[in-house]
């Protein structure tokens, strides 16, 4: 091990242990039972997910972590009702999920704001589709725009916003429907490091203040540890649950916890899970450059 002095990621402080105990007392919002998904294609069947089991409690923040192609998107799309599953059950508040619905909000990695609507109209969209009057929807939208700090941009069109701002609007648009759970598929994946960190802090802030359960997909280990109560680690081919890790880093979270022993221990565990000990043969390693000097012998840079 690289850090022999690190505690185990399973060690939890008193307060953290208490918190998890209380968390598990809360109602189960989402229950996934033995979920499986097989894609049928001309080249043969692809098992994207197999035997996935987990529960999410009310106001819990769960991150789903895994290598590329392990079925993270497939999982969240099944939860959202955008994709069908081939075996098992998805229960929201005990009722099976059969299709997309407003009780599960979703924020996508790509920007999916409606380009023909202003920011405010985008946020109003969900309410208006469900029969709320335009006046009422407008008032609600203003409230939520204020929450994500974009009230000044209410009348801007999406193409006038930065990537981070677009995702803020997307979050507001999903939350205005007051869903039971917010599903987020690598929502900050396309942002630069700085706005990404800002959005993470902002998301935690929102989560703390409203009654929402969040299921957040990422392939960034630090992001998962920073945000999550528990991390669902998936492995690829087929997509199966490797471990459900309770993050021992205490709340409230802040950026300088990233060097704390709990954080590093969790990260070391995740690294061990996600990057298997024996790396696959890397074709890049085969490339052997043959260095030729193209400059004068006296012309040195070092």
């Amino acid at each position: 091990m690289k850090h022999p002095q690190l505690p185990s990621y399973l060690d939890q402080s008193e307060t953290v242990r208490d918190r998890f105990a209380r968390l598990k007392q809360r109602d189960v919002v989402l229950e996934v039972k033995d979920l499986g998904k097989v894609y049928k294609s001309t080249k043969g069947d692809v098992t994207a997910l197999k035997g996935i089991n987990f529960k999410t409690h009310r106001r819990e923040f769960v991150c789903v972590l895994g290598p590329s192609g392990c079925g993270k998107s497939t999982l969240i799309r099944i939860l959202a009702g955008l994709e069908s599953h081939t075996s098992g059950d998805v229960l929201l508040d005990g009722k099976p999920v059969t299709g997309p619905g407003r009780d599960r909000g979703m924020v996508f990695q790509g920007y999916t704001l409606f380009p023909w609507l202003t920011v405010k109209k985008n946020v109003m969209f969900g309410l208006e589709m469900n029969g709320t009057s335009a006046f009422e929807a407008g008032r609600e939208a203003e409230l939520w725009l204020e929450l994500v700090g974009l009230e000044r941009f209410a009348n801007a069109y999406p193409h006038e916003l930065s990537g981070g701002m677009k995702q803020r609007v997307a979050i507001a648009r999903a939350l205005v429907n007051q869903p039971r759970i917010l599903l987020m598929d690598e929502p900050f994946g396309a942002l630069d490091a700085q706005s990404r960190a800002r959005m993470q802090a902002h998301l935690l802030e929102i989560w703390r203040n409203i009654d929402i359960t969040i299921l957040f997909i990422t392939h960034d280990l630090d992001e998962a540890i920073f945000l999550a109560d528990r991390i669902l680690v998936l492995k690829a081919h087929p997509g199966e649950v490797q471990e459900l890790i309770e993050v021992p880093v205490p709340r409230p979270r802040h950026a300088n916890q990233s060097t704390s022993p709990e954080f590093l221990a969790t990260k070391a565990r995740l690294e061990a899970l996600i990057h298997p000990p024996e790396p696959e043969p890397d074709p890049d390693a085969e490339v052997k450059p043959h260095m030729i000097r193209f400059v004068n012998v006296a012309d040195n840079v070092e």
Binding site: G99, M106, T112, F114
Partner: protein
């Protein structure tokens, strides 16, 4: 001026260059036309006789072939008779720019020569009406059908194979049939424009509908949008700017069917004007009428383009420029 700045690959030009080149694209052909018309030694294959001399069949104002003129001149010379005189001229079917410009103007102020004739603007107005009705009927069927084909695979499979087949049948081929069914007046003309436009329209609009980012539909579904509302609140507004662009292009196609359409049954509109003028060898009027069609087409398209920018402020490609 720096030459390389004119040929930067796929880069926008400065507004000045754009204007200059835009004007040039019209001025260059005009320049060629002027040279051919006004420089006597360029082309000019005919001679306009202004003094017949002793050639008995020559008359003042007669256009004769250069070769014939030279032959007659040498015959007269060898016989010692009076030589004919004349100036180099172009064939009657190529009037000079100023003649066409004059015709362009006078066509609107001179009454028709024939008692049953129509004024130029009356002919044009009739043509515009044919286009309008043809395009309207085509759009009333084609736009909804195209959107439905692009939205539902079942509708697409039921319609598109047949439409793919039908669009290869040349619309004018249905002329005789259209006359038999719809009579000899405007009915068959409008129907030719509909046949020429409709099938392309369905396919193009279906394709435009399919290009709408599916993630937008998914986002709407996770917000609790039902299927009917998806069509009217996501698909329709989502494709609207593209649909508008398609319609502009299709309107251009409808124009190209106009002349053929108007020849069907009793010839009418601008086509009747053109054929009539050509019969009396008023080629300056013919050109004037042709330019008129071009101007109307280009003008209406530019107008629609401007309107599009106003209508769809969120549509970036159209807003750039």
């Amino acid at each position: 001026m720096n030459l390389s700045s004119w040929f930067a690959v796929r880069r926008e030009l400065s507004p000045r260059k754009r204007t200059m080149l835009g004007a040039g694209s019209f001025l260059l052909p005009l320049l060629v036309w002027c040279i051919v018309s006004y420089v006597p030694f360029v082309w000019h294959p005919m001679v306009l006789v202004n003094n017949p001399g002793d050639v008995d069949y020559f008359q003042v104002g007669m256009l004769v072939d250069k070769g014939v003129f030279a032959e007659e001149s040498s015959t007269m010379q060898s016989l010692g008779k009076i030589l004919p005189e004349g100036n180099p001229a172009n064939p009657i079917y190529l009037p000079a720019p100023h003649e066409v410009a004059k015709a362009f103007y006078t066509a609107f102020i001179t009454p028709p020569e024939q008692h049953d004739g129509q004024w130029l603007h009356e002919s044009l107005w009739h043509s515009v009406q044919i286009i309008f009705w043809g395009f309207l009927i085509s759009s009333l069927i084609g736009v909804p059908l195209g959107i439905l084909c692009g939205t539902y695979s079942a509708v697409s499979r039921l319609n598109e194979p047949f439409i793919e087949f039908f669009r290869y049948l040349p619309a004018p081929a249905f002329g005789a049939l259209a006359v038999a069914i719809l009579g000899i007046y405007d009915g068959p003309k409008i129907s030719i424009i509909v046949i020429g436009t409709l099938f392309q329209q369905v396919l193009i609009i279906a394709n435009t509908t399919r290009k709408l980012d599916y993630a937008l539909l998914e986002a709407a579904m996770t917000l609790g949008t039902n299927r009917i509302r998806l069509l009217f609140h996501v698909i329709l507004p989502g494709i609207l700017p593209e649909l508008y662009r398609d319609q502009r292009i299709l309107l251009g196609w409808a124009w190209t069917y106009l002349i053929v359409a108007e020849l069907i049954g009793t010839s009418s509109g601008i086509t009747w004007f053109i054929t009539q003028q050509a019969r009396y060898q008023h080629f300056d009027n013919v050109y004037a009428a042709i330019f008129m069609i071009g101007l109307l087409g280009l003008g209406s398209d530019q107008l629609l383009a401007r309107l599009g920018k106003k209508l769809f402020p969120w549509d970036r490609p159209a807003n750039k420029e």
